[in-house]
């Protein structure tokens, strides 16, 4: 019974949201406000029960692990700008967060992203089948031409200009692929909603 009630609510809210396609109306406004309110409430619950409680207060209170007082103190420093006299305290949590993030991101980005991606462009141009040769050539030329386009220290003239123009073409192909996938994604979302209305709500498919 509860499930049927939930499906009806979801179906009516879906129709209310889609009614905006005709024109703005009170049903759309109601659905929009419900969404904002429910999202805020949902996030508040998630942040407490899945984030703050298990990662901070549970080890501190239940397990008596008092080292967790430190993140509370440092976390409270984030609110220091609310009191102008101790405004400077915010520098401590900010520098700590930036330091940890930079150390982690820089090392892992190099190890897990830049080097493997660079390695993937070192492709053989001999001893491979003709289709593989064409594919490897396209990747190598595409990478070099796109990098040339983003080289701004010298005017794009002569060979540099040709490379930059080629780079634009490669990027245009990439943008086209992204646009195609974006259209597909948006239509998939519509299909998902229409499927829900026809299958779960109306039971006609």
């Amino acid at each position: 019974m509860l499930q049927v009630f939930g499906i009806w609510i979801a179906a009516l809210l879906t129709l209310a949201i889609y009614s905006f396609l005709y024109k703005d109306n009170p049903f759309y406004k109601i659905a929009e406000h419900i969404f904002v309110g429910v999202s805020a409430g949902y996030w508040a619950v998630i942040l407490w029960f899945d984030f703050t409680w298990p990662n901070l207060f549970e080890p501190l209170i239940r397990e008596g692990n008092f080292i967790y007082v430190m993140p509370i103190i440092v976390g409270l420093m984030m609110f220091a700008p609310l009191i102008p006299k101790i405004n400077w305290l915010i520098r401590i949590p900010l520098t700590f967060t930036m330091g940890v993030a930079m150390a982690t991101v820089i090392t892992q980005r190099v190890q897990g992203d830049i080097i493997p991606q660079l390695h993937a462009t070192f492709l053989p141009l001999s001893g491979v089948s003709p289709p593989a040769l064409l594919s490897n050539l396209l990747i190598i030329i595409g990478v070099v031409a796109t990098l040339v386009y983003f080289y701004f220290s010298k005017e794009h003239k002569g060979i540099l200009g040709v490379g930059a123009k080629l780079g634009i073409w490669f990027m245009m192909v990439a943008f086209g692929a992204s646009f195609g996938y974006t259209v597909m994604a948006r239509i998939s979302l519509l299909i998902g909603r229409v499927y829900f209305l026809l299958h779960n709500w109306l039971h006609v498919i």
């Binding site: 949902y42 298990p54 892992q108």
Partner: protein, 273 residues
């Protein structure tokens, strides 16, 4: 005013109506257009096929209801394949709402294969922290996972005890709708611990994954609802994604026609001016 001028002034609601009809009619009256299998999807399927019975597959549900239409069918199809192959599923989520959606999929698939919670599959819930969490998870799972989704101590579950670090994970499948998601798994988990990563992403994210496919950092890719439909076809499970493919194809043709007409009108109006 000739026909091109009239089309240029067309009420956009007529276009919305046409798109709506192009989606709805094929769902009501399926045509059954063929679903071709692409290599990135086949690679995911082959990887799962190659895993021996009892292997542990981490399924990371990194999306929320906003991407449910694209990624939930892939979640169900992938779980069905895992359970059919008698693989053990260790579910986790980098997005708060992910594990709840993952639970829906587990509840709908696991009973068909008589799988037992705690032994054949487990859901450890949402784990915040992104990159830092993943680095810790691979080193020592116990630092991150103390209880499952329902609050049951993880050590009381056989599968929970079996997963101690990245070396116990045979494959990670991330169903990813953004950040944190597949890039975090590749850059912070695969690079550090070497565990193979497969992914199902929203269609918008799919083009960004191709460099990682060609570099071998990803085992394979299910891109959007189309990728899910291909996987459903491979595992012989004609469900929601396959049902949506007729609509998808027809709408794409319609949009191509709109683009062509739009460009003809643009050229015409430039010449007239």
């Amino acid at each position: 005013m000739n026909i091109l001028d009239r089309i240029a002034e067309l009420d956009r609601r007529i276009i919305f109506l046409l798109i709506g009809l192009a989606v709805t009619i094929p769902l009501l009256m399926p045509i059954g257009l063929p679903v071709d299998i692409t290599k990135p999807v086949k690679d995911v399927y082959d990887k799962v096929e190659s895993l021996p019975k009892g292997s542990i597959v981490v399924v990371s549900v990194d999306y929320d209801p906003g991407s449910e239409a694209e990624l939930y069918p892939a979640t169900e199809a992938f779980l069905e394949h895992c359970f059919r192959k008698d693989l053990r599923v260790y579910m986790i989520g980098l997005w708060p709402a992910g594990p709840a959606l993952g639970n829906l999929a587990l509840d709908s698939i696991a009973p068909h294969y008589n799988k037992v919670y705690g032994i054949d599959y487990v859901n450890v819930g949402y784990k915040p922290g992104g990159m830092i969490m993943l680095l810790s998870l691979g080193r020592n799972v116990g630092d991150i996972v103390r209880a499952d989704y329902a609050g049951t101590p993880i050590d009381s579950l056989p599968l929970g005890r079996a997963v101690k670090s990245a070396s116990d994970m045979d494959l990670v499948m991330t169903l990813s709708a953004g950040d944190p998601g597949v890039l975090h798994w590749i850059i912070y988990f695969k690079a550090r611990y070497g565990t193979p990563i497969a992914t199902a992403t929203t269609a918008i994210m799919a083009p960004q994954q191709y460099p990682y496919l060609s570099s071998g950092q990803l085992v394979g890719l299910l891109g959007g609802l189309k990728g899910a439909a291909e996987y459903e076809t491979l595992v012989r499970r004609k469900a929601r994604a396959v049902a949506g493919m007729d609509s998808q194809s027809i709408v794409h043709v319609l949009i191509v026609i709109f683009i062509i007409i739009g460009n003809i009108i643009l050229v015409y109006q430039r010449r007239v001016r």
